[in-house]
Amino acid sequence: MKMLKALFSFSAAFILIFVLNVKWGQLPPLGKFFDPFHGFWSNAEISQFRDNLLLHLNGLHAPVRVRFDDRGVPHIFAENEHDLYFAQGFVAARDRLWQMEFQTHAAAGRLSEILGNISLGAITTLDYDLHQRRIGMTYGARNTLATIENDSLMSNVLAAHAAGVNAYIQSLSPRDYPLEYKIMDYAPEPWTAYKTCLFLKLMSWTLAGRSSDLQMSNTLAKFGPEIVADLFPDYPQNMEPVIPTGTPWSFQPLPLRKPAGNFSPRAAQGITPFEPGPHSGSNNWAVSGKKTASGFPILANDPHLDLRMPSIWYEVQLVAPGVNVYGVSFPAAPGVIIGFNAKIAWGVTNSAADVMDWYEIKFKDENLREYFHDGQWKPTKRVLEEIKIRNGNTVTDTVIFTHHGPVPLRTGQTGISRQVPPLHALRWLAHDGSGNELLTFYRLNRAGNYEDFVEALKSYACPAQNFVFADEKDIAIWHNGYFPAKWPGQGKYIGDGSDPRYDWSEWIPHQQKPHIKNPKREFVSSANQNAADPDYPYYLGWDFAPYYRGARINEWLRSTGDIRPEDFRIMQLDNKNLKAEAVLPSLLTVLAKQELTAPQNKCLEELQHWDYFSDADKIAPSIFSVWWEKLYNGIWKDEFGDENLYWPSSDRTASLLAEEPEATWYDDVTTIEVENRDELILRTFKMTISELTEKYGPMNEKWQWGVHKSTDILHAARIPGFGKMDLNVGGDLAIINATGKHEGPSWRMVVALGPDVQGWGIYPGGQSGNPGSKRYDDFVDAWAAGELADLLFLKSATEQNVRLVAELDLMTK
């Protein structure tokens, strides 16, 4: 009996501990997780500032001093480059290890391995992982790694960075793991240079992973070339390109082989939507010393991305013999990506140049072993992908490759993206290992003048960017990346995969990429718009960012002189809504003739008195925004809604409304009656007012733009409570302050060049990736208020400054 009692109670205790030690569904292991000695509690940081610390580490060649300022920014002083990147990897991992690894797991299609096959809304983690494998994320990362390994300079830099990350990982016991590891119950694995390459592919997917080839092919098939030329022109009606119109192109372009006829692809449909977010875009600009109070150039940059916690950016200063640079880095990669040194400053905005094309493939038979190209049958390659699933079987998938690239879907398979047709091959620049992007940033970090800058850009392939530059005397902008030399319209639609004239064969030579140095207008700028006017001899793509944001920047820069850095801070917060200014007056003229109720009239007055600034405390931008969406849907949904078609741009819609009142698009083809523009305007206006009234009650402060838009910064794994929600900020996507609901300026920077360079900047997040740290989100409120922090640019390891609060000394072992 006693035996039985003992056995029974012992089993009960054992089972209890076992149950509390494992993960149940999405619930973390409760005992392990709540234990205040090892669980989440031990991630709560008691002190706001770090104590001084001395660590002995394997792998360092000499001592490194890391000085932390009052914003948590590490200033790394190393005696050689190896130690510099080792220390960068070490401190980045110390602050952001979980984020670094999660990003690379996501890039590589390994989420099922840590999360199991769970639902992510419309899709599952396995669907997501399969998608990543099939579009060739790992293929591209391997190719980039091969290129880096052939370059001893960058392979050493990446190896040093990885060694630093690993030195940190090795110093951890499970109780020290970042919080998210404890929630999802897994452990960090060793870091490698390959993971950095995976991260680069993730950035390429975010910034250059958009394709409308399939939808444009469907649209062309449905409406014909005339309507497509009208609604989707290769060059928009209204545009101020990055390189000013009329700039001469004084070079001999490469000859191009355009096919004679037009290829009619077999259209494919029926795919659930899952795309990278719409391009919210980015801004950068620089003015020459002639336009500034100091007589030296000033440069500004604010790249817009999906806003996430932890932030994609990590601020750092890197100092070693031959380099002293300050700016933002990616935790997963060595070097500074956007920033300045004592001589130069640079920044980037994304290019929408089309470097992702789809080809229809003619396979010999269902085995997909051979495909037809250039008059002969060519063999395909097969790559076996294994997806491990936590608590489940390993799923294997064979991806077929043509010389174009992977064929993500076979007949009958459906993917998670509307842009992927079955039995088509993907040609994507990010698959090539031809570029060496990290080498570009390595050289930019050390550049001392314009020539160094241009040389640094040479090795940069993807995702293409507008690189803005300023030093003491010059300003410049380069639309830079590797661009296939395309004939006009190449890659706008699905291409014929058997005809080599559809292949990418030649590349635009470096000196022929759109660029300008010290233009007459004394400023350079970009806002993701078309790089060059139609006289530029190459076709780069057709779907660039709308006119308005870039036009507003240029209006500002043209009309302002005697500029001080503070002016650029204010300019980055500019909320002028040029789209509203262009389209609203004609809408209001229509409304003024109509019978309206008292609340409707009140809204009309609100709009009539609007100064077109989408500020947080105004009500008119909320009305306009809701109304615009209804107008846009009202015009296009009946014709473009059902099939997998590409919808006309917001710009084109605005010009249609303002300038083409008689167009037939206003008619709802699903009804017998013929509706005209004015009826649509009135109907959608009334719907807007009832919707807002229903949601918030009769007009009150909840109608204010900042409250209505309510910007949210979500956690990278969408963990509730780990984001920063309901920020009350103005701006919108086609506005300089391009802050939407989930996207916006991910880093704002202003740099004043001259003998004593000065920088200001902020990002919506915090240096620490630990949700248990006060530094997790300590920049967010200042960011939302539009403040910039003084960036502390130290000249030497011993320079005294009251803002330096802690020191980390890394010693050799």
Partner: protein, 124 residues
């Protein structure tokens, strides 16, 4: 019983500094096996020790850190923040009390074995 609880608490605090979370169970198991006079006493001592230890440490961290993380975990679990702290204490208490009860039962078994053995060899 109070002495047992204090011993369990001290042993668990020490063991948790070097071992994983379930050393809380081992500490209360061993102390109960050696010392507890009854199953009820063992369970009670374990409950007090586990509850006080986990509640105490988590409360110390909560107050020391200004509750930054408590609030986030609470939102993640959709619970009020104080429940997160109380739940921590309860979990510690339950683990320690169940372990202590089982420790007592096993202790009885071992002690009986020892005493019967002693009798057989006629040492006492």
């Amino acid at each position: 019983m109070i002495v047992d609880a204090i011993l369990m608490l001290a042993a668990a605090a020490l063991l948790e500094l070097i071992g994983p979370w379930w050393t809380l169970g081992i500490a209360s198991f061993v102390v109960a096996a050696i010392r507890s006079g009854s199953g009820k006493d063992a369970t009670m001592a374990g409950l007090i020790a586990g509850l006080l230890l986990w509640l105490g440490v988590s409360l110390f961290i909560h107050l020391g850190s200004g509750g930054v993380l408590t609030v986030r975990i609470a939102e993640m679990m959709q619970l009020p923040a104080f429940v997160v702290i109380v739940l921590t204490g309860i979990l510690g208490g339950v683990v320690a009390s169940v372990s202590a009860f089982s420790g007592f039962q096993v202790g009885v078994l071992i002690k009986r074995g020892e005493s019967s053995g002693a009798r057989r060899f006629g040492i006492f």
